[in-house]
């Protein structure tokens, strides 16, 4: 028996010439199937539903300014959602996707990292932009795909992106940003930046192969990043229990050797603290940290979706009770930081800002026709120039058939192109 232990649990491999992929493994003589219960994954909660702090150690985790900024960004996001769902119903935009119910998870985590950190998202994280100061007009320009959108109106509504705010342009294919975040963080480390990458995704997207690739590579290649999974119970109509059989996404961290924390995603303080500590840990140890935010998608998947076909009102009601904005509201009341009137003012102001921005943005022109071929390559390659020339001639011949760009084309020629 001693021989067994020696041969299979050798603890001191020769560092120079001899590897032992079993150095840390001990032996057993019993046939036991290990199951998920063997690694319990409790969820961090710092605020209860009354807004009381549950762990006094975190009483000074943030200051009033941060807490209020975060709270206002949550409100901004909620109001934006309401406004845009309305706009979509009115046929003013083609598509919208709401963050409702997940504001604490997103804004909380964003507040917990630094402005110099890169944020990569899935699509439901407009709260991160709101916290970083993206304006009503900026949101609207993207959603109306007009000439003022720095993404040049090339993608559907909600595919925001802003270089200045370190917010990577959203891409629809799910999960692709996960290994990209690892690579981006590796680049940050290599160029000596004091910054990490914060990468958001849904529990549905975590089923993609890219999730596996990203977490494993980040661990092996020592990338300072935070993987933040919003487990909101649904991927469109697919409930979490048809998505995985493990204990959420957090339990996967163990398998990758990635430090992991599960958090109550409707608790802004817990999200803030978790993100802040995760950031510090990731930077200090050059490693990824996985956060699973347990939350709920109160909204429909998108404006194309009607959840009444796949989940009960009953279930939604339970979660409406757990509204993260409400909880934060109570907390701010408890600690005496809430100025109700200022809040009302902010809400009113935001509503009117958004409406004004909407009215402004929807009137802006489309980017000039020539932009159809730019940014495919660094330069417009000859074959694309030829295609543009032919297209331009065609549009000139049939201006009425292409009303969006035929006018612009004319305007361009007169040097009056919209900027």
């Amino acid at each position: 028996m001693s021989d067994v232990t020696q041969s299979t649990a050798k603890k001191t491999p020769d560092p120079v010439s001899r590897r032992d992929h079993m150095a840390q493994i001990t032996a057993t003589q019993a046939v036991n199937l290990i199951d998920k219960q063997s690694a319990p994954m409790p969820m961090l909660q710092l605020l209860n539903s009354d807004g009381n702090i549950l762990n006094k150690q975190y009483i000074d985790a943030w200051d009033k300014d941060t807490a209020l900024k975060l709270f206002y960004a949550m409100h901004f996001t909620r109001i934006l959602d309401e406004r845009m769902i309305g706009a979509q119903r009115q046929g003013r935009i083609s598509f919208y996707l709401a963050c409702t119910g997940e504001e604490a998870a997103i804004v909380g985590a964003t507040a917990g990292v630094e402005m110099r950190d890169m944020i990569m998202t899935q699509y439901r994280e407009q709260g991160a932009l709101a916290y970083r100061g993206y304006t009503a007009t900026q949101f609207m320009n993207q959603m109306f795909s007009n000439v003022l959108d720095p993404n040049k109106g090339r993608q559907m509504p909600i595919h925001y992106g802003d270089k200045a705010l370190n917010f990577m342009t959203v891409s629809s294919p799910l999960g692709t940003q996960i290994p990209q975040a690892a690579g981006y963080a590796y680049g940050q480390k290599m160029s000596g930046e004091d910054a990490i990458t914060l990468c958001f995704f849904g529990e549905g997207a975590a089923s993609e192969g890219d999730f596996h690739a990203g977490l494993n590579m980040a661990a092996v290649l020592e990338c300072p990043c935070i993987f933040l999974c919003r487990n909101n119970g649904y991927a469109i109509s697919t409930p979490a229990d048809e998505q995985f059989k493990g204990d959420g996404i957090a339990s996967r961290g163990i398998g990758y050797g990635v430090h992991t924390i599960r958090v109550d995603g409707n608790d802004a303080l817990a999200m803030y603290v978790a993100a802040k500590e995760a950031r510090a840990y990731a930077l200090k140890h050059n490693c990824p940290v996985l956060i699973e935010a347990m939350t709920y998608r109160l909204a429909a998947h998108s404006t194309s979706d009607d959840p009444s076909g796949y989940r009960s009102r009953d279930e939604e009601a339970v979660w409406r009770e757990k509204d993260p904005i409400m909880r934060m509201h109570r907390y701010l009341q408890q600690v005496g930081w809430l100025h109700e009137k200022a809040l009302d003012g902010f809400i009113t102001q935001t509503r009117s800002d958004l409406l004004a921005a909407l009215k402004f943005s929807e009137k802006q022109a489309t980017a000039p026709l020539s932009e159809i071929v730019t940014d495919v390559y660094a330069e417009v390659e000859p074959h694309l120039q030829d295609q543009l020339d032919a297209l331009q001639m065609h549009v000139n011949k049939y201006p009425e058939a292409y009303p969006n760009t035929s006018q612009q084309t004319a305007a361009d020629k007169q040097g009056e192109g919209v900027q």
């Binding site: 993608q155 890219d210 694309l384």
Partner: protein, 325 residues
């Protein structure tokens, strides 16, 4: 006969196939209780049970990997990829596995029972991740078949053939026609042959080749050309791989001119293959260069979607150019 839209025709084909053969199983993201984001799989789960119509986790490579294994075992999986734009994570499973399964094993093992359904194409303000037409990628892959219907009647008949074919089939559904295209669809079980083109309209001056939603675009162009005295023959390819070289070439030999229209980018699109074959087979009969009216060589844009599209006007222009060459 019932008037159905294209979605309903697909749904009816699935019902018919599942009823006739218990080895037919439908799988994919949200295809279960919900019936798919477009509702193409409505009521399949309630009719045939959760074991035969089931949601998968959100992982296209897994959907195809699982479906390959299931087909190898003898079942007939009909796997849905929610949008053709999201088929690429499954590219390896399709190109290296599905298409080579039979060949590499000398016919011992096959995934001939597999059908992959996916909505494709633009015109729905979807930008470059909800508008792509990736048929040319798969047309370059020996070992699978690629089929595209243009209306409800074809959709049902071709889908039934695809499911029952002894070869894996990629069945691409033109999503902008899902509700827009309505027509008579027999309630009975019928199949349309794979690998055959459909002669949509006879004509004498030029042969127009298209498939899926673009057939209606070239029809409009032909209409306009007719008012200028030009008679167009229109061929709907239906099957992209293998494609009906004979029907196309015979037509071009008759008309002396050829135009191919597709939504996908020009360079390396499937029109190039057709043009390459036609110029070779009909060399002595061609009176004008073969024209390709296709998407630009850019990602599919949003704000400039109208300008990007190979629409009826552009097609008309190219027809007139060919005729007056």
């Amino acid at each position: 006969m019932a008037q159905l839209n294209l979605l309903q025709a697909v749904n009816q084909a699935l019902h018919t196939a599942m009823k006739a053969d218990e080895r037919v199983m439908v799988m994919g993201e949200d295809v279960g209780h919900f019936g798919g984001v477009f509702r193409a799989t409505s009521n399949l789960q309630s009719t045939f049970g959760k074991a035969r119509c089931f949601n998968t986790p959100l992982v296209e490579q897994g959907i195809l990997g699982f479906a390959n294994g299931l087909a190898a075992q003898g079942a007939k999986p009909v796997a849905e990829i929610q949008f053709a734009d999201y088929i690429y994570p499954a590219f390896d499973q399709i190109v290296n596995e599905t298409a080579k399964f039979r060949y590499r094993s000398g016919g011992q093992f096959t995934v001939g029972g597999l059908t992959i359904r996916t909505p494709y194409g633009g015109g729905i303000a979807g930008g470059h991740y909800h508008s792509q037409s990736p048929e040319a990628f798969f047309a370059h892959v020996p070992g699978i078949k690629v089929v595209i219907p243009r209306n409800p009647y074809q959709a049902k008949g071709l889908l039934l053939s695809s499911i029952r074919a002894n070869d894996p089939v990629l069945f691409m559904e033109p999503k902008r026609l899902y509700r827009a295209s309505v027509g008579e669809v027999p309630e009975m079980d019928y199949e349309l042959p794979l690998g055959h083109a459909d002669l949509v309209q006879e004509g004498s001056d030029i042969t127009l080749v298209a498939w899926g939603a673009q057939v209606e675009v070239v029809q409009q162009a032909a209409q306009k050309a007719l008012s200028h005295g030009v008679s167009c023959e229109i061929i709907d390819l239906q099957s992209i791989l293998p494609w009906d070289r004979e029907t196309v070439c015979q037509s071009v030999i008759k008309t002396g001119r050829c135009l191919i229209n597709h939504e996908a980018p020009l360079t390396g699109g499937f029109a190039s293959e057709i043009a390459a074959v036609v110029q070779s087979e009909c060399f002595l009969h061609l009176e004008a260069p073969i024209a390709r009216v296709c998407g630009l060589d850019t990602p599919y844009p949003l704000a400039h979607e109208k300008e990007y599209m190979p629409d009826a006007l552009k097609t008309f222009e190219a027809i007139m150019h060919a005729v007056h060459f």
